[in-house]
Subunit: 125 residues, 6 copies
């Protein structure tokens, strides 16, 4: 386990529980065909990028939620709304960020994202 | 001038100078073919959406910058990086938000957006 | 209920049955987390935009179907094909509009949309 | 010159002047590297698709304009607004179709398209 | 059955079994509403394009997989990974092509595509 | 200079001349606002991804060209067509890959990409 991996693993705990972080590594669903992908995500996405100074975890989560909603990526929207709540974003902040997107991406994508947010809020309640 | 327009006009001043806000209304470039568009932007985008409570102006600007960069919309990227600086985002926060997007939208779109940010930072210096 | 809402509510009846229009308002699925969204859709989308003169309801429905198909938005494709039929578009016009998109967005998105259209035509028969 | 080409060439004249149609074929800018592309566009896009019955030329033009605007494709937006005017769409119908897209794709893409429309209307006046 | 159809039908057999090719034509799921679509796909996509010289079937399959993954089109990703294996791409080549996309489209779309690839590899084993 | 950087720097020379590789590092246009980006591209994109075994440089270049063309990213299309030629793709292979995309992304994006390819072929001649 190199330094970048350790740093990534520490950083990811701002966005998921320690239990989930361990599970992400131990139960890698793609281990049989792409065993390096999980490592790249921990080392590069979390170790090199998320761990940078200059923007706090809540704002990083807000940026990521906005990007995946704009792309219309439903599974990632669910994942990153959960991580945003764990990083400290309130439900109101998430809902307001989604409504703020209406003039830029239109009603349909925002409606889809709010439906996902509603489901996450229920599951996490 | 109805209540929504007034509210929108007050709100837009968090993102542009008063002079620019006045110019947006008085020198509407599309007035000849779509005279209602400017009114809709002020009343709906700024009056109804940007003015909502629950998320501060800096975070709203961050959300909008992220969305237009994810869409690859160059002219809007320039406009909203400028408005983000006016709303109080630091240059570092903007750069970090763009780098945070690398794992989600790839290097090329982020590189394009950083080139635009660099130009805005020079113009505003 | 303000004037824009009333206008939007009247306009939406060109695209859905009165019963469905009432249900959209009374049974708002997102009322708990985003109670203002439904109001915005009625007032802004239907009251301000759909109700404008200069383009008839059938052509507006054609424009909306084309846009959501081009975006690859499956749930909206279903909704707006239904509304297009209600606005008076024939099944042939809808199928031809989808085939017209092949040279611009490729076969896969068109094939997906035709599969959805086929299902709507069966449900509405 | 086969039947599909002839049919395509006849059909394209609903969207451009005869002079422009001839020029498209005789002055093919990509003839040196992709000499078959122009033929494919005439035979497949215009001969097989645009020439189909069941939707008139104006509605086909409306569908194409909507699709390229939704994709954010600036050069195609210019080309197809010109062809739409030639097919008989009025300036008002084009402007209204663009405004109709605001709730589905947001203000920025619509604003860009209206700026292009404004330029075409001036050139064609 | 014209020459383009015959050529397309021969070409498609590089990507699917003869049995599947026959089934694509005989059991056209969209025959009731768009009977010409299947013919267009065989004649135009396979007869005019896939059958061109200058690029072998494996490389054409690689190009198509890359394009549908970049578009985020899940059903097409499944179809074309299957066809790529049939055309002779190895599982390793497909996995490596998907990982090669990480710096250009980000982790989420690649992860989704790898999950689909994993399922296809199991089904084809 | 760590091992990943060295590996990335060696790998990038399959796609650009040594002179261009050196210039990419020494004349980093974004060094003032995002000094880490260039390093990430060399280490992650080229050191971790492009350098993987299992897919040769020509096929990796083909995958990247296809992805950026599908995204409609004009500046990247130019860059990666150049790199593809340097990696050993022929002009014919590049043109055929672009034509192969017509049934998946439509004529307009392919036409734009062919125009860029034509320009690169002239510059490199």
């Amino acid at each position: 386990m190199n330094e970048r991996f350790t740093k990534g693993f520490e950083t990811i705990k701002h966005y998921v529980t320690t239990e989930e972080a361990v599970k992400m590594i131990e139960a890698d669903a793609l281990a049989d065909i792409a065993p390096d992908l999980r490592k790249m995500i921990i080392e590069f996405a979390y170790g090199d990028i998320y761990s940078r100074p200059g923007l706090d975890a809540k704002k990083r989560a807000l940026v990521v939620i906005t990007s995946v909603v704009t792309q219309g990526a439903a599974p990632q929207t669910k994942t990153h709304i959960k991580r945003g709540l764990h990083a400290g974003l309130t439900q109101t902040e998430i809902v307001e960020a989604l409504l703020q997107l209406v003039p830029y991406i239109g009603f349909p994508l925002v409606q889809n994202a709010l439906t996902i947010a509603q489901q996450v809020f229920k599951e996490e309640a």
